[in-house]
């Protein structure tokens, strides 16, 4: 190395600095650039070694040196050791009380050419290479601050300022380098801080409870937080790039566009939607979206909040609100809710009172237990209907409260459904309607009571419907008897159906008046005889019945039979009329005519009759004459003259006078002539009575009379009006026609003159009875003018007219009736003769107490008693065996009570000689008017029939036996095989035993015993088979024992088992447990079963082996045991089933066709039924139904 050339050096140095800077920029590690620079400085300054370091400060602000490069360390062993010891934290030096520390402290160049003596030197640490001289160069950054330093040591000849100045550019370059290192470091630190901050923010974002979605303008997800991922079940990576529509199930493109437009204005929007999870499930969300700009592009930040809970809470709130509403609308009403899923019942507090159950636990089952047993089922049905129909329904039912009180509850309920329309809840109200129900009951009771009163009151009560042509709506018992018309006949008809038109018209006019005016009307003495016969006198009050609005709707009539009271009442009325006359005296005009002065005094009444008063009429005779009708005047004057001339005590005249108003009034004038002392007429005194009304009535009456006469004349019965002596006063046309007289001829006649049967004495008696008011009816004969007679029925009724007594006689020609009566009598005689003489039917008539009143000839023959002996005796005592007396009397009293005869029955009766006779007795109850009914017995002797029946039973038993024998015959081959088996075994065992006995028994004794036992067993087996066979073929009288059907079936199968086995037929038993016994004949039933089994076997013969199964089944049915034999064979053709049980009908080639016929007769004999059924799967089933035996043991 040479000394630095002052002239050339700067150029070299600059080039070196440029190279160093280039290296710094190029190299990733600045270390080498520093080492390069250090080498350059050490070389240029001809120093022995040196270092370059950065000045840094600790967190506490204490400066220290960090060495980037040292020279000589790698080559000098002692240096390396020194560094290892003094810079354990890398190349950092914190000790600054030394020469390089002076540079850092002072920011100045430090030159020390004798460091050992330099006060700034803190002394070298042990191991430091010897320091002869030292140059410390501060390095400043861009802003003049100390960023580092370089240290050089041991230059030969020491250091000076000039050298330091020369090295300055290099220090400047190093300053730039260190500054840039520091800047990089700061940038890195701030980046790290930023990154930490970002991570913090992400953690925060991830943990917010809402899902965050950062979306771009196309709603594409740019970023999401953890919560959003969790809520949707996607990962963050899956979510990024998704569009809103991919996970939002509700939002539409239109909405998205609308929202986008809104967001563009910078507004924040919120809406509810539904998010869809990755697994497809959905949940409601509330979304708030705000716009934000990232990198100059529009984005949106969406916050999605899961509002499932809120929605649920809302729904709950809504429900509770509805509950509340219901409760409010129906005050004093309990609200309940039944959760169908959990079966829990919610009760509002009122319910506990209403249902009377304080301790209800909310279980539907507990509620069910509260219900009245009778209402349990109907209520269940109603509830089910409500659930099915889904409408609001109400129902009423009873509950029994915890106080045992029965309450009536009215419920009204509605069904709540979930989104799928399933019923989840029933919500309803409950109301206690017990009081209402009780009131209803009371009302019903009182209505019933009223109905009873109306029905049984002795007054006729009936109701007519004005809207329906006054047809009868109600007709009580008294009405029935008074009018003689039954309710069934009358209700729905009106008066026109039963009364003559005139009368009915009259009734209806009254009815109409009543309805129109709304007040009652009385009809007194209303004669009524709609059915003929005696007239009844009635007093009827008719009144309107008003509806709730006060409108008359129905007409009520109450009607009393006053016939009995009629007479006295008539008298009373007469007296009353007289009284009325007197009372009307006030209305009588008086006139007083002085014949001497020809002056007439008219009373005020007289004037007022003609409409005048006071002076309007003068007291002059002219005033009277001028007012009399011109037509009547001559007669009136004649009458007056006559009265005066003849001195009549009583003057009477009728004439018309003109009223002031111009009308004509009829006036009755009565008066007396008054004589003077000389006996000459001096004057007349009299009265005027206005008789206009009466006159009009008379005219009306006359018209009515002619109408009446025509009616009477056209009546089909002859009418005779007689006076109280019986003399004919008037007759009708029919009377004339029937008797052949003129009306005039008949009037005045006495009954004896045309009645051939009536004597004067009889007439007298009739008259006496009539006098008492009685209606008299009798049959008689009338004689015509030509002398011929005909039978008649006469009815006479008295009545009064004008104080006189009359009789009205109704005479009916009864020729026809008499003829019919005669025919009836003849027929009766014929029948009697018939009953008397019929010899096959014993007929007896007797009273309910048993007393015999009729005993025909056949009865004599049947029972050995003559009619004389029997009549008057007690039938039961006479004919019935002692032990049957009580039963027979019970039957009779029952028949007497019900009026219905007992059914025909077979009876064993006792003859006179004590022998028995079996008869079929039919009884007849014959009702008699006014008496207890009479009994008739018709007995037919069936002793012979009985005997024949017994004979038939015997023959049938023989037939059964024959049929069984035939079955046995058919089974012979099988039976021989069956016996062959044990016989074969016996043979083999015997042979084996013989062998042992031959060869010596030693040691074989036990074997021998075994063989002999086997022989005995097999012998027993033979016996069993033969016993069974013998039983089956035995001729035994039919007997009834209690039979176990299961055992019978097994035994029967045993009988034919070999046959079945030979034909590869299997038997499958399906027997129910514990079958009750049936009463029957074991052998006969076995015969039925064997027959059915054999038939089934035959049907299976053409079937493949695997189908050859017979199922034998037995089970209990109500009151019966059923057993079935089922095969899967050829089955039954449709036309076969009809004749299946007919005798000699067969489908088999070799069959007799008697088996099933016998089966049927046996089963019938057991009161059972047999039927054949075609199985759907092929084959046939024969089903036998036998009644269960009620008694145990023998019948």
């Amino acid at each position: 190395m040479s000394v630095i050339d002052a002239g050339q050096e700067p150029v070299d140095l600059l080039a070196a600095v440029v190279a160093i800077q280039r290296q710094f920029i190029a190299e990733s590690e600045p270390q080498q650039a520093f080492e390069h620079a250090l080498g350059l400085i050490v070389e240029r300054s001809r120093s022995e070694f040196g270092f370059i370091g950065e000045v840094l400060s600790t967190q506490r602000g204490e400066l220290f040196l960090k060495v980037y490069a040292t020279s000589g360390v790698t080559t000098n062993e002692s240096f390396r050791k020194f560094y290892e010891k003094n810079a354990p934290d890398g190349m950092e030096f914190h000790q600054l009380d030394n020469l390089f520390g002076a540079v850092i402290r002072t920011n100045k160049v430090v030159i020390s050419n004798s460091p050992a003596k330099d006060p700034r030197s803190g002394g070298l640490p042990p191991g430091h290479p010897p320091l002869k001289s030292f140059l410390g160069l501060p390095i400043f950054g861009g802003k003049g601050e100390l960023v580092g330093m370089a240290g050089l040591a041991n230059r030969r000849g020491g250091y000076d300022d000039a050298l330091a100045a020369r090295l300055q550019p290099l220090c400047d370059a190093l300053g730039v380098m260190i500054f840039s290192i520091q800047r990089d470091r700061r940038r890195r630190e701030s980046e790290a801080a930023l990154r930490a901050n970002e991570a913090r923010l992400r953690i925060f974002a991830d943990h917010v409870t809402d899902g965050l979605f950062l979306q771009d303008a196309e709603t594409r997800v740019v970023d999401v937080n953890q919560r959003a991922c969790e809520s949707l079940g996607y990962t963050r990576d899956e979510m990024i790039g998704m569009r809103r529509a991919d996970f939002d199930s509700e939002i539409t493109d239109v909405e998205i566009n609308a929202y986008a437009a809104q967001l563009a204005t910078g507004e924040t929007i919120a809406f509810d939607s539904r998010h869809r999870r990755k697994d497809g499930s959905e949940f409601p969300v509330e979304i708030r979206v705000s716009p934000l700009w990232i990198d100059g592009k529009p984005h949106t930040l969406a916050l999605a909040c899961d509002i499932t809970e809120r929605k649920r809470a809302e729904a709950k709130l809504q429900e509770s609100e509805e509950r509340l509403e219901l409760a409010l609308t129906a005050s004093r009403t309990g609200v309940w809710e039944w959760d169908i899923g959990t079966n829990a019942v919610f009760w509002s507090p009122e319910c506990y009172d209403i249902y009377g159950n304080k301790s209800f636990d909310g279980q539907a089952e507990s509620f069910r237990q509260m219900l009245h047993p009778d209402d349990l089922e109907p209520l269940g049905e109603t509830v089910q209907r409500t659930l099915d129909e889904g409408t609001i329904n109400s129902w009423e039912f009873r509950v029994i409260g915890s106080d045992r009180q029965v309450r009536w509850i009215a419920n009204c309920a509605a069904v709540r459904r979930d989104e799928l329309g399933r019923a989840i809840k029933l919500i309803g109200t409950a109301r206690d309607i017990t009081e209402q129900k009780l009131a209803e009951d009371a009302l019903r009771q009182s209505t019933l009571l009223l109905e009873n009163v109306v029905e049984n009151i002795p007054l006729a009560v009936f109701v007519k419907d004005p809207q329906d042509d006054f047809r009868i709506r109600l007709w009580n018992k008294a009405a029935e008897s008074i009018f003689g018309i039954a309710r069934e006949e009358m209700v729905g008809r009106n008066a026109h159906d039963y009364w003559p038109k005139e009368q009915a018209d009259l009734y209806q006019s009254v009815d109409q008046k009543v309805m129109k005016e709304g007040v009652f009307q009385d009809i007194a003495e209303e004669p009524s005889n709609p059915h003929g016969g005696n007239s009844v006198f009635l007093r009827t009050r008719k009144m309107p019945l008003f509806d709730r609005n006060g409108k008359p709707t129905l007409l009520l009539a109450i009607c009393e039979d006053i016939t009995a009271r009629n007479r006295s009442e008539a008298a009373l009325r007469e007296a009353q009329r007289r009284l009325e006359f007197t009372l009307q005296g006030a209305d009588v005009g008086l006139w007083d005519w002085n014949l001497v002065t020809n002056e007439v005094v008219f009373s005020e009444e007289w004037k007022s009759q003609l409409g005048y008063h006071g002076d309007e009429i003068a007291n002059s005779n002219v005033d009277w004459e001028s007012r009399v009708h011109p037509d009547d005047l001559p007669r009136a004057l004649t009458n007056v003259e006559n009265a005066i001339e003849r001195r009549t005590a009583e003057y009477r005249s009728e004439f018309r006078m003109r009223h002031k108003d111009g009308s004509w009034r009829w006036i009755l004038s009565r008066g007396s002539v008054i004589d003077d002392a000389h006996g000459k007429p001096a004057g007349m005194l009299g009265v005027h009575i206005d008789i206009t009304d009466r006159k009009r009535a008379e005219e009306a009456l006359q018209a009515s009379e002619s109408r009446y006469r025509s009616f009477v004349d056209h009546a089909t019965d002859a009418l005779f009006l007689q006076d109280h002596t019986g003399r004919v006063v008037d007759v009708n046309e029919q009377a004339c026609v029937s008797l052949g007289y003129d009306r005039d001829e008949l009037i005045g006649m006495m009954p004896v003159e045309f009645d051939s049967d009536v004597t004067p004495e009889y007439t007298e008696r009739v008259l006496q009875r009539l006098e008492t008011g009685e209606t008299v009816a009798f049959d008689s004969r009338h004689r015509r003018q030509d002398g011929s007679t005909f039978p008649v029925e006469v009815r006479l009724r008295p009545f009064r007219m004008n104080d006189e007594r009359f009789h009205i006689g109704l005479v009916r020609d009864i020729t026809e009736r008499k003829r019919a009566e005669q025919a009836l009598r003849e027929s009766e005689a014929r029948l009697r003769t018939l009953l008397e003489n019929i010899d096959r039917v014993a007929v007896q008539a007797y009273e309910p107490d048993g007393t015999i009143t009729f005993w025909n000839r056949a009865s004599e023959l049947f029972y050995g008693y003559s009619a004389e002996q029997a009549l008057g005796r007690d039938l039961v005592e006479l004919l019935y065996a002692k032990h049957t007396h009580e039963q027979e009397r019970r039957i009779m009293s029952e028949a007497l009570r019900t009026g219905k005869p007992p059914g025909a029955e077979e009876m064993e009766l006792v003859r006179h000689d004590g022998s028995k006779i079996t008869v079929l007795t039919s009884r007849v109850v014959h009702p008699r008017a006014g008496k207890q009914p009479e009994f008739f017995c018709f007995d037919v002797d069936i002793t012979d029939r009985k005997r024949a029946e017994e004979e038939l039973t015997l023959r049938q038993a023989e037939l059964l036996h024959a049929s069984r024998l035939s079955t046995v015959g058919q089974m012979v081959a099988e039976i021989s095989h069956e016996v062959a088996q044990p016989l074969n075994a016996i043979g083999n065992f015997a042979a084996a035993s013989e062998r042992i006995l031959e060869t010596g028994v030693d040691g074989q004794m036990s074997t021998l015993c075994e063989y002999v036992r086997a022989i005995l067993d097999q012998n027993q087996r033979c016996i069993t088979i033969l016993d069974r066979l013998r039983d089956f073929s035995r001729r035994a009288p039919a007997s009834r024992t209690s039979c176990d059907i299961g055992r019978l079936l097994h035994d029967s199968v045993d009988l034919v088992s070999l046959e079945l086995r030979r034909n590869q037929v299997r038997i499958q038993f399906e027997l129910a447990d514990k079958l009750p016994p049936v009463s029957g004949d074991r052998i006969q039933l076995q015969q039925v079963i064997v027959n059915l089994l054999t038939n089934a076997r035959d049907a299976l013969l053409e079937q493949p082996d695997d189908r050859r199964t017979i199922t034998v089944r037995a089970f209990a049915a109500p009151d019966a045991i059923v057993f079935e034999v089922e095969d899967h064979g050829t089955g039954l053709a449709g036309d076969v089933t009809v004749h299946l049980f007919d005798p000699f009908f067969t489908t088999k080639r070799h069959g007799m066709g008697i088996g099933l016929s016998i089966c049927q007769s046996i089963v019938k004999d057991h009161s059972g039924r047999i039927e054949a059924i075609s199985n759907p799967s092929g084959g046939a089933t024969f089903r036998v139904r036998l009644p269960i035996s009620r008694k145990k043991g023998h019948d």
């Binding site: 081959a973 021989s976 095989h977 069956e978 062959a980 088996q981 044990p982 016989l983 074969n984 075994a985 016996i986 043979g987 083999n988 065992f989 042979a991 084996a992 062998r995 042992i996 060869t999 074997t1007 075994e1010 063989y1011 086997a1014 067993d1017 097999q1018 087996r1021 086995r1061 030979r1062 590869q1064 299997r1066």
Partner: protein, 221 residues
Amino acid sequence: MTENTTVYVVDDDEAVLLSVQAMLSQHGYLCRCYLSAEEFLRDAPRDSPGCVITDLQMPEVSGVELQQRLLASQSPLSVVVVTGVADVPTTVALMERGAVTLLEKPYNHDDLVRAVERGLAASRERWLKRRDEQSVLDRLASLTEDERRVMECMLTGQPNKAVAHRLELSMRTVDRRRQAVLEKMGVRTAPELALLLGATRLSQLPSGISANVNQAENPDI
């Protein structure tokens, strides 16, 4: 009586089964009893002589079917049929298929013992013959393809020279193979060989050979 001659009794009636066993065991037979034909067929030996006493009417598998199945499996067992009732067609069919006899129940036990004795003898004979046949077949199987060709020529009676010419072999080779055939078949001469193969049931010979044997024995056919 060899120990391989067992009597198999098949009857669905247990009493009968036990009685037959009692009787036959007293006569010194080894008896095996079966309540059904299936049970027996599962147990039936394939390759030892014996006699079966079977009932005719049994549920499931009948005596007739039992006999058919035994025949189908080429069993050497003899069949004695016992029955309660037998019709003529069934009897004829049974006898035609080689039943020893048919006894009607109840039978005389001596008849049964005699029938069993006959059945056992016939079965033993059949079995022995079958065993010989099998031995020949085994020996034939031990021949190589070349030897077999030489043997076929031998059976047609061709001399060695003709054989050598036909098979394009040297005389030496033919002679060597001829000796090998005779040695393996256990005979000394070609006629002996022909006799041995002729005694074997033709149906059991490999097809190629049977044709040749036929030709050898009946050259005019």
